[in-house]
């Protein structure tokens, strides 16, 4: 089947099998490997992308469903190669990642969250993080990073 999708502002057209997951489409067809794949059943959050601006699981959608939609991945965050955006910088400054496997999904979740809630409380940040698993950090530094980004007006 033919599918036309905008990814990070660039229009793509591909011939795909209907069963190709959006996560695999992004990684294998478009070559954007920043979107990670953990559980492939919606639980871990590593594959979180923005779908028309809203956070969604790339592993729970078929590429054909993204026809005509606007998808953003973690690769869209940095303003230029070698640079970080304010949220990413706050993650670096707060030591909010260790292995980094969960980080792209958390960055995309928090990008949408901060856009809607620019001055969150710690409790709100923890609630917003509940759909993303991190097996390394214990979450505390991630919460710190999101609050730091909010304080800096990310």
């Amino acid at each position: 089947m033919k599918v036309r999708v905008t990814v990070n502002g660039v229009a793509h057209e591909r011939e795909v099998e209907p069963r190709l997951l959006l996560s695999d489409f992004l990684r294998h067809e478009i070559g954007l490997t920043g979107t990670h794949v953990g559980c492939e059943h919606g639980v871990c959050g590593a594959c979180t992308i923005l779908w028309d601006g809203e956070p969604a699981r790339a592993c729970l959608a078929f590429a054909v469903q993204a026809e005509g939609h606007d998808i953003r991945t973690v690769e869209s965050l940095a303003p230029a190669p070698g640079q970080l955006n304010a949220l990413q910088q706050a993650f670096q400054d707060s030591h909010a990642l260790q292995c980094g496997y969960c980080t792209p999904g958390i960055l995309m979740t928090m990008t949408a969250f901060l856009a809607e809630n620019p001055k969150p409380s710690e409790e709100e940040v923890r609630h917003a993080l509940s759909g993303n698993l991190c097996r390394c950090t214990g979450y505390q530094h991630i919460v710190d990073a999101v609050l730091l980004a909010a304080e800096r007006g990310a």
Partner: protein, 289 residues
């Protein structure tokens, strides 16, 4: 690629979607938000030969209010659209309070109320809320439309009254009685997980402040969402004092049939039902004018 191969059909009318379902029978599945179906397909627990996508079917994705105050929610309305709707927040706050406990924002972007109700997971919040709100299901099939009360729609775990060639087209939620107070509470291991126990309460007082109407419905409390009409009836005519509420909450524990899970034994679920029902009724009583 995790799921088994399938054909993809994206009809644009209800009639075309129903015709496809009639032709392919139980080899075909409708796909709404995919947030229950795609995990099952990734595990290959579900291997439909044909997927009939409902997202491009005209008319299924609208929220519409009638002059009498009832709300018609098209089966394809996404959770996110409901939680962003200021009128729903104002007139049916019970829906919003419960939606906040349904999965995570990333799941609510794509998940739909219709898909959730058709999935009929007894641990799911919305079926219990629909019981408490006395919603009616608009079911479309080759023979036309039939309307089912929520209480008749849920038959068992993952089982609804939909025939193989039928689909859910819309959910009709009647207005709450004037001045009614509502509350939804649940306990889950982590935010966004399925509840070990959850309860929806609706209360209305008469002019003298006595309880004129009470409704209670539970999730994770049996093979279907479970109403507790006996417990609710105990409240009618009382002043909704702490002792009245405690007696009703105790009675509700005997009306449900919790089945237990890896997280909670049936006895613990029953205990939670009593505690949560008392808290939800207290909140709803405070909120009832």
């Amino acid at each position: 690629m995790k799921p088994a191969p399938f054909d993809w059909q994206a009809p644009e009318t209800v009639e075309a979607a129903l015709a496809l379902k009639s032709v392919h029978g139980d080899g075909a599945r409708f796909i709404a938000g995919g947030q229950s179906l795609v995990p099952a397909m990734n595990f290959r627990v579900a291997q439909p030969g044909v997927l009939i996508d409902l997202s491009r079917v005209a008319g299924l994705d609208s929220l519409a209010w009638s002059p009498d105050g009832s709300l018609r929610i098209g089966a394809m309305v996404r959770y996110r659209a409901i939680e962003r709707d200021a009128e729903v927040a104002r007139h049916l706050p019970l829906i919003l309070e419960a939606l906040a406990e349904v999965a995570h924002p990333q799941i609510r972007t794509r998940g739909t109320l219709g898909g959730n109700l058709c999935h009929a997971d007894p641990a799911s919040e919305m079926p219990a809320v629909m019981l408490a709100l006395q919603a009616r299901m608009e079911v479309r099939g080759p023979g036309g439309t039939r309307i089912l009360p929520a209480a008749d729609f849920f038959l068992g775990p993952l089982t609804t009254a939909l025939a193989e060639d039928e689909m859910l087209a819309a959910i009709m939620v009647p207005p709450l009685p004037a001045g009614a107070g509502t509350a939804f509470l649940e306990l889950a291991r982590r935010r966004g997980d399925y509840a070990m126990m959850g309860v929806a309460a609706v209360l209305r007082r008469d002019g003298a402040g006595r309880c004129a109407e009470a409704r209670l419905a539970f999730c994770s409390a049996g093979p279907t969402p479970m109403a507790a009409p006996g417990a609710a009836a105990l409240l009618v005519g009382t002043a909704l004092a702490a002792a009245d509420i405690a007696a009703a909450a105790e009675a509700a524990k005997a009306e449900i049939e919790p089945m237990g899970s890896v997280q909670a034994s049936p006895a613990y679920q029953r205990h939670l039902a009593g505690v949560l029902a008392a808290r939800a009724l207290t909140l709803a009583a405070e909120r009832a004018a």
